[in-house]
Amino acid sequence: MLALSAPVAMGYIPLGMVFGFLFVQAGASWWLAPLSSLIVYAGAAQYMMIPMIAAGLSAGTIALATLIVNLRHVFYGLSLLDALPRRKLLRWYIIFALTDETYSVLTTIAPATSDKQMTLIAALNHTWWVLGTLIGALIGARAHVALAGLDFVLAALFAVLTVEQWRTKKNAAPLWVALAAYALAYALAAPHALVIAIVLSLAAGTLWQAKPAAAGEARR
């Protein structure tokens, strides 16, 4: 199981460190960094929260942004419905810990894996993320670095997730629609560009007719 979790550790420990570091540099107490990695456990949303807490935005606004960033998780669970453990505690823990990486490991191995092994993988991945965050936070509490542009790590993470979504969908229409929607929304009202563009994309997605390749999917 360690072999399956090791590649995730290679990503989660350094990325957790960057999160912990930036979180503390933004002006938060160091112990809150591992706490948020333990409780929230969602990389993109956690990176996103850093500039938002630095700007002192309300918890409601940040919750709404979390909803948008993590909306994709709603569609993850559907393919794992029958694969996850039946035992309540293990099942709910894995659902709680279903990040992009844990999801992709579990969907690859699910049919031939015992409940205990699945839980162990989820828990190991969770541990790497919290551990990385703790190390980064402790470094961040001692060092002061004034490098412009470190927060680009969030944009880079979104770029990686975009490429991976693109790869699985094999259809770039949503990408072009989103680019057009953002350009339009930005021209209309730049400060609210994201929200307007999401509404436009949602409308486009509702009207969208899937190509024959995707139609087979819908027939299941």
Binding site: P14, L15, A26, A28, S29, L32, L35, S36, I39, P51, A59, A63, T66, L67, I68, V69, N70, L71, H73, V74, F75, L78, L81, W92, I95, F96, L98, A148, G149, L150, D151, F152, A155, A156, L157, F158, A159, V160, L161, E164, R167, N171, A172, A173, P174, L179, A181, Y182, Y186, A193, L194, A197, S201, L202, G205, T206, W208, A210, A214, A218
Partner: protein, 109 residues
């Protein structure tokens, strides 16, 4: 310093939202699977929203300096290319961020 009480509230709110989103398909599977619209949006929305978040965060970074969006465009292109070819998320993110930090701090643009 950012107030810890405020941050604990933010962390709790984010934790609840994230857990609710992950749990939704497991508690409402029948409802979700019955609606063709959910399938359609499941095919369409994740890529659209990721693209929007990417463009939004890159645009936000570009507005922090006066030299045009070139560092963002270059760094995003590098991340996309690396991720497409190598499928190594850490490599893509670290290389892209390092190049971006260099571009911004060397004032090449």
């Amino acid at each position: 310093m950012i107030a810890s009480g405020y941050l604990i509230g933010v962390i709790a709110a984010m934790g609840i939202i994230t857990f609710a989103l992950r749990a939704l398909p497991f508690v409402a599977a029948q409802w979700l699977q019955k609606h063709p619209l959910v399938h359609k949006l499941g095919q369409f929305l994740p890529l659209a929203i990721m693209t929007l978040l990417l463009v939004h965060s890159a645009t936000g970074a570009a507005r922090e300096h006066a030299s045009g969006p070139w560092p963002e465009l270059l760094a995003v292109a590098l991340v996309v290319l690396l991720q497409w070819r190598r499928r190594n998320a850490l490599l893509s993110i670290v290389a892209g961020t390092c190049v971006y930090v260099l571009l911004r701090n060397l004032n090449l643009f």
